[in-house]
């Protein structure tokens, strides 16, 4: 007896007792245990103590536990952004041919996923203006780290410094440091001015030891960078790569990275395609074609099959760990392909017009909300005299911590980013709650 109701064994192992016996016979052993060639001394004879549950009970338990999370309307951003994910994305991405397949090592039976990834790469090429994009890294932070490694590999002269702005999220910085420590790189910060890169500070920090300069657009504090070309020029003047952090929504509206000299674009492409997922992401990685043999991660290319039909396949696999081992361009193997599929569907769903419209909304929604908060006595918003995208920092005359706590008490979450600073993010998913949010903010901020 197996089936959904099996009361013993794995519900996903189909063997009947008779089948098991017949198979043991064929193998020529008496019991399954006889197949385990494990010395007695390391045999585990204890129990994990994990109670088996029915599917129904498991679902109920997870629902019970996750139900303990408070139901808050989030005005949160700072590296993880939410936009409404159309139902189409879930329904297509959940098709088991996509969801349950492996990496496309047999391209003849995996044309579907390969084409979807090829289209994903192409969309990022259009969004960044760079010539190539890989089929995914883990997240923004690891993509940034891989960019630094690529920079140190492709740089003609020696050097070991990576320059990052002081607004870099601590999580990203820590990942960057962990990835670059082995290869002997050092991460240094340069200053910013009213939220954006301070070009003077950067030019003072930069020298011939620098292999990469990193900046974001929009920045962690929601400002739109205005000196991208200067940053790129500074980097190139010192034979360093310019790596820009962004995301697909911002890229559809803001300056095209290729136009401002970016050599690598990294970011979280899961901003489209994924709901807020407690930080799960999709590392965007695009760069110039000249670096293609130094690129980390998977690449899908085009070829033909025996019938001369156009066909897709993974390519340049000799860069990868399963072939080149310790000389690979990265250790990445399992990646975020399925998230890339989701993102591609979401981008396709929006189309050029829809995507630009969504991005423009990110500007106007933030503008409008900042203005409304600024109208509250004791609040100045935005703090930075810049253009903003999705989010901004507000100064509060009252201390920020109780304001944030009081808002949470009333069902809203914002970031506390300073003793008198909160950061607020607004997109299409919380836009409907702006009215109530402003009213409550007024109550708690005065």
């Amino acid at each position: 007896m197996t089936g959904g109701n099996a009361s013993t064994g794995s519900p996903y192992a189909p063997h009947t007792a008779e089948e098991t016996m017949a198979m043991l016979d064929a193998v020529g052993v008496e019991s399954v245990e006889a197949l385990f060639d494990i010395p007695e001394s390391v045999r585990f004879d204890g129990e994990f103590g994990i109670e088996r549950r029915s599917e129904q009970a498991t679902r109920r338990e997870l629902q019970r536990i996750l139900g303990k999370n408070r139901n808050l309307t989030e005005f949160l951003g700072r590296g993880q952004y939410s936009h409404y994910v159309p139902s189409l994305v879930d329904h297509i991405a959940d098709r088991s041919e996509f969801l349950t397949s492996y990496t496309q090592y047999q391209p003849e039976v995996t044309q579907g996923f390969l084409q979807a990834l090829f289209e994903y790469q192409s969309m990022l090429v259009e969004l960044t203006g760079l010539e190539i994009a890989n089929a995914s890294m883990y997240d923004h932070a690891t993509a940034l780290a891989e960019s630094a490694l690529l920079a140190s590999r492709v740089r003609q002269t020696s050097g070991n410094k990576v320059l990052v702005p002081d607004y870099l999220l601590s999580g990203r910085k820590s990942v960057l440091e962990n990835y670059t420590e082995g290869p002997g790189l050092v991460v240094e910060e340069f200053g910013t001015d009213d939220g954006n890169v301070d070009v003077n500070a950067l030019s003072e920090s930069i020298d011939e030891d620098v292999v990469m300069v990193y900046a974001e657009n929009p920045t962690t504090r929601g400002t739109i960078e205005e000196n991208l070309t200067e940053i790129g020029d500074l980097a190139h003047d010192h034979d360093a790569l310019f790596c820009l952090g962004s995301d697909p929504v911002a890229l559809s509206l803001l300056q095209k990275p290729a136009d401002v000299g970016a050599d690598v674009v990294v970011g979280d492409a899961g901003t489209l395609g994924l709901p807020a997922s407690y930080g799960m992401g999709l590392g965007l990685f695009a760069t110039r074609e000249e670096f293609v043999r130094q690129v980390p991660g998977r690449l899908v290319g085009v070829s033909e099959d025996e019938d001369e039909n156009r066909a897709f396949t993974l390519t340049l696999q000799t860069r990868e760990q399963h072939i080149r081992r310790e000389r690979a361009t990265s250790n990445i193997c399992t990646n975020q392909a399925w998230v890339a599929l989701r993102t591609a569907i979401h981008i396709a769903y929006l189309g050029s017009s829809g995507l630009v419209e969504l991005a423009e909304n990110c500007v106007t929604l933030a503008d409008d909300l900042a203005e409304k908060l600024d109208d509250i006595r004791g609040v100045q918003a935005p703090v930075h005299d810049r253009h903003h995208f999705r989010e901004f920092v507000a100064h509060t005359d009252q201390p920020a911590p109780p304001i944030v706590a009081d808002l949470e008490e009333r069902g809203f979450a914002v970031h506390e980013v300073g003793e008198h600073e909160v950061q607020v993010c607004v997109t299409d998913v919380n836009e409907h709650a702006v009215g109530e949010f402003v009213t409550l903010f007024q109550e708690v901020a005065r």
């Binding site: 794995s10 519900p11 017949a22 064929a26 494990i38 994990f48 103590g49 994990i50 498991t58 997870l62 629902q63 999370n69 408070r70 989030e74 949160l76 939410s82 189409l88 041919e97 996509f98 349950t100 492996y102 090592y105 047999q106 391209p107 003849e108 579907g112 996923f113 084409q115 979807a116 289209e119 790469q121 883990y138 997240d139 932070a141 820590s174 990942v175 962990n178 082995g182 559809s252 509206l253 803001l254 997922s277 998977r298 033909e304 099959d305 001369e308 396949t313 390519t315 340049l316 310790e326 990445i332 399992t334 975020q336 599929l341 396709a348 050029s352 630009v356 500007v363 253009h387 979450a413």
Partner: protein, 471 residues
Amino acid sequence: YTQAKWEREEDDLYEPLLSEKDGNEVEVNSSLPDELTRDSLELPDLSEPELARHYTRLSQMNYGIDSGPYPLGSCTMKYNPKFTEDVAALPGASIHPDRSEESVQGTLELMHGLQDYLARIGGMDAVSLQPPAGAAGEFTGILVAKAFHEANGEDDQRTEIIVPDSAHGTNPASAALGGYDVVELPSGEDGRVDLDALSAAVGDSTALFMLTNPNTLGLFERDIEEIAETVHEAGGLLYYDGANLNALLGRARPGDMGFDIMHYNVHKTFATPHGGGGPGAGPIGVVEKLAEFLPAPRVEKTDNRYERFDPEQTIGKVHGFTGNWLVLVKTYAYIARLGDEGLNDASAKAVLNANYLASQIEYEVPFSPFHHEFVASAGDQDAADVAKRMLDYGVHPPTTKWPEIVSEALMTEPTEIENRETLDQLAEAFNAVAGEDDGTLESAPQKTTAKRIDQASAARNLRLSWQKLDE
């Protein structure tokens, strides 16, 4: 089996690209100053019905676990229980990572519970859920090892990581990423670690020995206790690559064997979907003395409350936030569904299936006794051609040409989810191909969406985007 083809014969292509269906350049207008915006954007503008059809067709031109057997060695292509998708879609799972501790007690409880489950299963003392994949877990483990040696003042001295030649490619790649010199250890004649060679290789410069057990040949490293002793005596640490953990659930635990650090491939052992390449998750477990070096934050329980905390000498972070959270939710659900009994049975049936399948095929399997996977040799045939030809029999072929210790390797792992009938069908495919001539093999596959693809030309004439196709 004939795979679906949505071909357009007049154009010599299958389903056209989105850009070929529609390419629409729009001018970008914005309230922002012109110099801060791009001029235009050219992406397709298609309707939902057009997209639904496009992706549905693409999906039918893709082979998944629900299509048929998928016996890729070391990949553990298990059935992915549908209900885990529904669980990951619960509203409480989709929240922002910067929420206050107080407001995410459910999430923290789940994380704590999963840390605990994994620790018990691996025989480890402390677990971090942060690494987003197996290779990221390896790298994290290496950082932990490094921090440990550093704390002991031995960092400068311990510059080497030892890896068997039969190890997954991620092992040496992760070691190199950590800044270590990789020392490759040749396998012994029995396909296992050669204790003498190991003794000769370890020493004052050894930081870590990375081992898969059972190894990629499916063989249990019987001398594991001596191995651990050898490595530990030299002052090194022992790392367990969790890729093959599906062979051992409930029968042996890395912690009990003397391993100090391990990663779990939840997308293998715990049946979260492979998603065409990812996302997976690669939590790591460590013994007590290494817990203080784990990534930040971890979760602990205090007085009926769950709190985030940074281990004392934490290495910091290996993911911008908390890793692949939705995958971890599915992992919890899978483990809770199976419990002790189910996990035990999964390994039992995985090992039974591998042994049964091997007993039914004509290709030689040089090394044994194997567990959940075996490596057959295609002999005079080209293993890659064998794989292509197997596709015509309606099954997915095994991993090929690796590990190199077996010539023309067919590395086969059916997992516990296949029934006898499907294993017989797989064996029939193996045996039919074994009897075929090279010509037949080289012209395969014929019944798949695409026939044999010229992979070399994809690299020679690199076109990595639809923009390049237009050129």
